[in-house]
Each structure stands twice: as C-alpha cells, then as structure tokens.
C-alpha cells in the first residue's frame, strides 16, 4: 500500500489496494468529513465501530438496537439473516446506523477499503445528518436518551424474567410486538426518554396507575347522577388510535410489571416510527450524499480509478429499480426512488428546463444545497413525493398507476407518465407511502363498562379493503392484554359497522 505525504495529499490518492487499516479509516473519515463540511452537512458527533460479520448479523436481527432485551424473534432474525448472508444473498451491509448521539455506524471487518469509505459516507454522514435535521426525528426521537432507555428496558425485562418466569414475559412481549404498529402517537408529541427519569418514575407510576385502573371499574356509589346517559356514552369518549397506550392505561387486569412492558414496547415503537415514515427520503438522502461526497473526493484527486469502479458498481446495484415485469420485482426500491429524487432536485436547481420552471418555479436556479436541506428537514415520504416528484423523473422511471378493484373483472391503468397523468401518478405514489393507508386504520371504539367489559375495536375501511387473515390471531393477542373479550367491527364508507371478529375470554 502506498501512502502519500501530507503536502501532496490534495493531488494524490489516499490509498491504493483494497486493504483497510485503522490509520486509513481515520484519513478517509477525515477527508469525507471535510467534504461533508464543504457541502454544509450538519451531523451529530460520529462513532464508527468496526465489527465482525457475526456482530453485524446480530445487529440486523435486533432491528438495529445496539442494546436489546432478549426475545425469541431476535433469535429467529439472527438465523434467517445468517442464512441469507452465508448464501451471499445479502446485499450491502451498510444499513445499520443508530439514531443516537453520538451517531453509531458499523463497519464490517471483511469489507474492502472502498466499502468502508462508502459506509462512512452513507451512514456516518448521510443518515446521521438526516437524523439530526428531519423534523420527524427531531420531534419524535431523543437521540441523547435512547441508549440509556434501551439499557433500562433490557434490565427491566431481565428482572421481570427472574421474577415472573421467561414464559410469562415472552407471552407479554409477543402480544405487545404484534401491536407495535398500533403503539404510536401520530400527532401528540412524546416526552423525552431518559433512563434516570424512567427509573425514578417507574414505581411511582405503577402504584398510581393501579389505583386509576381500579377507579375506572369502581362500582356503585357515583352512579345515581348519570341516569340514561351511561347507556349511550362510550368509553373512551373519543376513539383512540394508540392501542398499546390505551391498554397500558386502562386494561383492568394487567399487573404493574406488565404495564411497564407494554410501555417499553410502545416507546420503542414510537422511536422507530419516524424511520418507517421516511424510508425513501432517509435512504435517498444517504445514498445521494455518499454519491456526492465520494465523487467530490474523486474530483479532488483523492480516490483511485479502481476505487471508483468498485464504488460505482455497488452503488449501481443499490439504486437499481427492476421494472414491474421482471422476476426480481418487489415493489419500488426506496433507494432508487429516493436517490433519483434528490439527484433530480439538484438538477432542477442547477439546470432547470421550461417544464421544471412551470412545475417548480421556486426551485429553478435556487441554491441547490439550501433547497435540498429544506426538503430533507421538512418532509416525510408522503409529502416529499407529493411535493417534489417531477414529470421528468416520472418519465425516466416510466411510472404508471393501476387500479385493482375486486368488483371489476380486469385491472385498469388509471394514469401513465404523460401530461394528463403526472399529477395523478404523483398523487397515487404519495398516498402509497402514507402509513395510514398502508396499515388498516384500527381504533379503540368502546368498552362495555357496565356489562362484561368487552373491548370493541373499529376498523375504518379505506377503499373497501378488508382485514387480512391474521385478524383472529391478533384478537387473541389483544384479549390476552385486555383480559376480557375483544371484538372488532369494520366500518364501511357509509358508516355501517359490521362485526368481523371476536375473541371470547
């Protein structure tokens, strides 16, 4: 390996050959950091950890949580990731980056220097700046507190296993995991997480909650005043979308430790919620920046041609979008869509066409860095696509919309990449990334307070789409948490409710 003297660093490559060393990692990181500063990327402090492939698989299996409690599903994740890794099916191991401060990015020791540099640029600068800048992450997650909170969660769950047995805790976690997607507040802002506070407040909360719950089921004394009202008023008064929250606060038969477990899974679900809403943007942003940063270094003469060829090859694999008719097609590749959109955004700022001027008058000839930064900070997938998907990109990707209506015999093409279709395609695609449309909209509707305490959920149907075949199993999980019978009703467009599932306890 040849190394250059500091004086000539600006005109000589940082290294040749594919071996990496810690000194080299340091120098690449330094150069990438300079480039990132040049483009004005604002990041959390970075911590880059070199790990083995086994540790990487482990990180994958525990959904990227650096400290996780024990659960069989993570063992399953480990086995299946290991299998696909050993078969060589796994693409690039550069996804894992922890939204924490300092932001932790992992490098796998088996990778070449090129790949390490790619990961540093992608994760430690790209994702990192997204975590720090995007409004969803700023609102919903607390990068400073998350590691502490995970340690608290792990210790608490381990303690529960000691006290109540592994089976009991596992059953709780199974049910909570099933409901994780329904454990997020979509609109309310959460309190910051921190271990010290959690520890202090836990016991207090347990006692208080238990008394509250009991109060809810208190029988006679206050009853006289209500009159008939009681028959017609519902509990909760308004439907609630956060099922886990409702259960944590109201399920009559949970023990204090069980409530805490519900709370932990709820908090973790909330922590990951922004990631689920910004997949396209987040990956697109990170991919755009590793591409831009490394090209910048190459232009400055710091990277070899061999480096660039290896880099471009893996970059191209990542942003490849197979067409719908190919065998490998499994929906739209978020890397491809996100990367293309940010690239296109830059193009619109730098070299707008007449069409772009019509569609994005405020972007044409603006400072591309400021415009991209604004887009990164203030949108999520749904709104980002609705705002920025350009006609040119729709043409490039040959996007078209298909209506699949079970009352029609055939599929109908509702819009394609032409003048008449741009708006519709853009609209459709944006809706496709609306989590509210992707997941069934299920809310807590009523509890039979004066009867058998049956919990009634309501599924508000979207475009007549019914619930899938997992509903019965899901109701069993909910009934386990609630402690009494649970039923679910589907409500169609006309507001007519029909019971579609019931689990008796």
């Amino acid at each position: 390996m040849e190394s250059s003297t500091p004086q000539l660093a600006s005109r000589q490559p940082l290294s040749e050959g594919s071996e990496w060393t810690f000194e080299l990692l340091d120098r690449y990181d330094h150069e990438i950091g300079l480039a990132a500063a040049h483009f004005g990327l604002d990041t959390y402090p970075r911590q880059i950890e070199v790990i083995t492939s086994e540790q990487m698989i482990d990180a994958y299996a525990s959904v990227g949580m650096p400290v996780g409690y024990h659960h069989w599903s993570y063992g399953k994740g480990f086995l299946s990731t290991q299998k696909s890794y050993q078969r060589g099916q796994m693409g690039l191991a550069y996804e894992i980056v922890i939204n924490s401060s300092p932001c932790i990015a992992y490098l796998m020791e088996e990778n070449t220097m090129t790949m390490q540099a790619l990961v540093i640029a992608h994760a430690a600068y790209g994702h990192n700046s997204f975590f720090k800048g995007n409004y969803l992450f700023r609102t919903w997650t607390d990068a400073e507190g998350i590691l502490d909170y995970l340690v608290f969660a792990r210790n608490f769950i381990a303690e529960c296993e000691q006290r109540h047995g592994e089976e009991a805790v596992e059953a709780m976690l199974d049910s909570c995991h099933a409901l994780m997607n329904y454990g997020v507040d979509r609109y309310k802002r959460p309190a910051k997480l921190s271990m010290a506070k959690e520890q202090l407040r836990r016991i207090e909360r347990e006692d208080y909650l238990q008394s509250q719950v009991n109060d809810l089921w208190r029988t006679l004394p206050t009853r006289q005043a209500g009159g008939q009202d009681r028959q017609t008023s519902r509990f909760p008064a308004e439907p609630q979308e956060n099922l886990l929250y409702f259960i944590e606060k109201n399920a009559p038969r949970l023990e204090p430790w069980q409530r805490e477990v519900v709370r932990i899974t709820r908090k973790i679900a909330q922590y990951f919620y922004p990631q689920r809403q910004t997949q396209v943007m987040n990956e697109g942003w990170a991919t755009f920046w590793h591409y831009t940063l490394l090209n910048h270094l190459y232009d400055a003469g710091k990277l070899t041609d061999g480096f660039m060829i290896e880099f471009l090859q893996s970059h191209t694999n990542v942003v490849f979008q197979p067409p719908f008719y190919s065998r490998g097609y499994s929906g739209i590749n978020p890397y491809a869509l996100g990367f293309s959109m940010f690239q296109d955004l830059r193009r619109i700022c730098e070299q707008p066409t007449d069409e772009d001027r019509r569609w994005f008058p405020e972007l044409a000839h603006s400072d591309w860095r400021a415009s991209l930064d604004f887009a990164m900070r203030n949108f999520k997938d749904e709104s980002f696509i609705a705002q920025y998907l350009s006609p040119k990109l729709i043409r490039d990707l040959k996007l078209f919309a298909v209506v699949d209506d079970d009352t029609q015999e055939k599929l109908e093409i509702s819009a394609i990449h032409d003048d008449a279709g741009y708006q519709a395609v853009r609209q459709r695609l944006a809706e496709q990334y609306n989590l509210g449309n992707r997941e069934p909209n299920i809310q807590v509707y009523n509890v039979d307070v004066y009867g058998d305490r049956t919990l009634t959920l309501r599924h508000y149907m979207h475009e007549r789409r019914p619930l899938g075949d997992s509903t019965d199993e899901m109701l069993r999980h909910i009934a386990r948490l609630w402690g009494y019978s649970v039923q679910i009703e589907s409500v169609d467009q006309d507001g007519v409710a029909r019971t579609v599932g019931r689990c008796e306890v």
Binding site: L25, D26, R46, Q47, I48, E49, V50, I51, E54, Q55, I57, D58, A61, H70, H71, S73, G75, K76, S80, K83, E109, I120, E166, E170, D174, A178, Q279, V280, P322, P323, F324, Y329, S330, I332, N333, P334, L397, F400, A401, V402, V403, D404, D406, K410, L411, E412, I413, S414, A415, I416, A420, R428, Q432, Y433, R464, L467, G468, S470, T471, M474
Partner: protein, 421 residues
C-alpha cells in the same frame, strides 16, 4: 473527526440467548424434525449437526394487515405499452399488490424456515426421548476422551505442577554459573595472600588490600540467590487421546412381517445408542448388519432398515451367521465384539432352545456384551423365556422389553456402569 472504535473482540456470541429462546419456543417442531432426521441417518452418523426446517407459517409474528379485496391504486415502474384506460388481466400471484417494498410479505409464506442445529444441540434432542441420566448424556455428547500424559518440563505452569528436583537442579547449575568467575578470582586472591604471608608480608598494604578483596568476593558469592524464579520447572502434561482398540458391533434384527416402521425406528434408536456407547471406548468400530426371517443374511445398512419380508421367523439362523462371521473375520484376540438384537419376540417354537444353546456355548464366550430387546411384544413368548435363562447365567447378557423409547436405556445400564467403574 469521528470516534473510531474496534468492537470486534467484544460482544461475541451476543445472540446466543436469543437463539436458545428460539429453540425453546419451537421445541415441538424441532423435535419432530430431529426424529425425522434420525430415521434418515446412518447408525454411525451421529457426530454432526442437522439442518432443521420448520414450516414458515408457524413462525410468523402476526400484525394487522389488509386482506385481498376492495380497491387499490398502485404505482409501478417500467411501463412498456400501457396507456391510460387500458385493461389488463390480473397476474397470477396475488393481485398485483406491491406498495413500496412490502409486496413480498404475502408471497413469502411458502418457504420453510431452515437453520442449522449444532452437534451438541442435535444430541440434546436425540437424548430427550431416551430418558438418559444426565451424567450419561454428558459423557456421550462429550468429544472423544483424552488422558493427560507427561511430556517433559516447562518453565511456566501452575504451582501444583512444580517439580522440586528439577527446579533444584536448575538452581545448582545457575549458582555454579553465576559464581564461577568470583570463585576463580577468590582462589587467585587467596593464593596471592598465602604467598605474601609466606614472605612474611602479612601486615603489608598489599595483603590488606587482598583481604578486602577476598571479603568482597565472598560477599558476592554469598549474594548469588539459592533459588530464583528463573529456576522453577513444572511438570508438563498434554492431552492424549485414550489408547483405544477396535470393536465390531453386530446389529441383528427380525424383518418378518410384524416388524413395522415404528418398531424399526425404535430398534434404530437402540442400535444408535449402543453405537454411541462404543464410540466412547473404541476408536474404530465396524458395523455388521444381519437381518433375518427364516434365513439370515448380512446386508448393507440401507437394506437393513428398509427391507420387509413376510413369513416365519427362525432366530437361530441369525445367531449362526453371527458366529460364523466372528470366526471368519473378527478373531477375538483383536476385536471386541458387541451385539444388539431387536425383535418383536416371534420365533418358531422349537428354535428357541437352540438359540439359548448357541448363545451360551458359542456366542457369549466370544462377545463383550449382548443386548436383546423385544419391541412392543404382546406376550413373552418362548424366546423370551429361553433368554431369561441366559440372563440368569451370564453377566454379559442384557434384555429388555421396549414399549417406548424411554425403555431403551435400562438395557445399557449395566454396560455403562462397567465403563464408569
């Protein structure tokens, strides 16, 4: 500047606990898979892990999701010929679902979930049904035994291995080496002093200087330590595989019509367990498979468990064949003979006394151990009665009626106790 951390050495095997949780949760399925694996394995093939596959639908973690039906409006890339308003047939797989990467969720369900059990884990499941005492399990699952043998001396070791004689020898050598030059100087100085004294110059300045020199040298010799850490020697011990000899294991099985699959599976476990016991004591084991109905035949393992014939049963035919094979190929001077016989207890009435005679006179004197099991037999028949007499007469003979897998181990109890002792 970023913080670089090398984590490669920390947190190894962090997911081991989760793996255990996973195995525990699916122990029913895994046991089933192991049982199937055992029936497709060779008797001697127990020293490896196993690929286990579990139906993927058992492992799914449910979430609320949409079913098919209703109306969807989905954007796809790569349009070729469509224009607005075109009609197209539904593709076969699903209903063209595929919003943002979640399309594979529905299609994935078909495949089995496949993973590897390590050898230790496999053995655990194998032993589970057999009701083995824990100590036995441990011994069987352990890697081949080794003995610690002496192998010279080393300069590092723990205090209990300190070799005193060696260490003292070393100390003597070191003391000699370290004190040799002052001794020589001392000798010279003493000689010079004696010379001066004979010349009557004992009180001279030179003599005084020599005396000082002598005192200094003596002090220096005395300062050489009697023993030093450098001298210490420790007895070295290394692991050596236990010296082992060879064994021949005979598997005898009745393959008449009444031996069905289930009985054969039990028999197979029985053979496997004996084989495992033997692998602990012998380095080389040859397997001989003899199946019989009215006539006996030596066969390959595949045929041994696969074949099924109808007709009567003459057990003695197998014993005769075994005796002949021993005489021909396995001289007892070089081979330890073990035999395991499995049958459902049927035998031609007049043949059973002959079996007893064959065993008592010809076979038992040649074998280390002969184990007989009767699998799911209804009533003890003539063979059982005759064998009971054999058992009373010989310590090398064991017999047992098997109804479940748990009954297998007692057959070997005696054999195993002998090994422990």
């Amino acid at each position: 500047m970023s913080q670089l951390v090398d984590r490669r050495l920390s947190g190894k095997n962090r997911s081991a606990v989760n793996r255990q949780r996973f195995l525990r949760r699916f122990k029913q399925q895994i046991r089933k898979a192991v049982t199937e694996a055992v029936s497709s394995r060779d008797v001697s093939d127990l020293n490896r892990g196993e690929k286990i596959s579990i139906p993927a639908k058992d492992l799914t973690e449910p979430i609320f999701h949409h079913g098919s039906g209703g109306r969807r409006n989905i954007v796809h890339p790569g349009n070729r010929e469509f224009v607005k308003g075109d009609q197209a047939d539904r593709p076969d797989s699903g209903s063209g679902s595929g919003g943002g990467g979640s399309a594979s969720e529905d299609a994935e369900g078909e495949d089995d979930f496949v993973f590897e059990l390590s050898r230790e884990e496999f053995m655990q499941y194998f032993f589970q049904d057999l009701a083995l005492p824990d100590m036995v399990k441990k011994q069987l699952a352990a890697v081949p035994e080794v003995t610690r043998t002496r192998a010279g001396f080393v300069s590092q070791g723990n205090p209990s291995n300190l070799h005193v004689v060696r260490s003292m020898k070393q100390a003597i050598g070191r003391r000699m080496a370290m004190s040799s030059s002052p001794r020589e100087a001392l000798r010279e100085a003493e000689a010079a002093l004696a010379e001066l004294e004979t010349q009557g110059l004992a009180a001279s300045e030179d003599a005084e200087a020599l005396r000082e020199e002598i005192a200094r040298l003596k002090a220096r010799i005395a300062a050489v330590p009697f023993i030093d850490t450098w001298d210490l020697r420790y007895a070295n011990r290394i692991d050596q595989p236990t010296p082992s000899s060879q064994a021949a294991m005979f598997c005898l099985m009745d393959v008449s019509g009444s031996m069905d699959e289930n009985r054969k599976n039990i028999a197979k476990r029985f053979f496997m367990l004996l084989y495992l016991f033997l692998t602990k004591s012998y380095e080389r084991i040859e397997l001989v498979f003899i199946r019989h109905h009215t006539v006996a035949k030596e066969v390959e393992e595949q045929d041994f468990f696969a074949s099924r014939e109808s007709g009567g049963t003459v057990v003695s035919s197998a014993l005769v064949l075994m005796r002949d094979i021993i005489r021909e190929r396995y001289p007892t001077a070089n081979w330890n003979i073990y035999a395991a016989q499995a049958s459902d207890g049927d035998n031609w009435e007049n043949d059973s006394p002959r079996c007893r005679e064959l065993l008592m006179q010809d076979i038992l004197p040649l074998t280390q151990y002969f184990a007989y099991v009767e699998i799911e037999a209804e009533q003890p028949q003539s063979l059982w009665r005759e064998y009971t007499q054999v058992k009373a007469a010989s310590r090398r003979f064991a017999m047992q009626r098997l109804l479940t897998l748990e009954d297998i181990y007692p057959v070997f109890r005696q054999l195993f106790q002998k090994k422990v002792a």
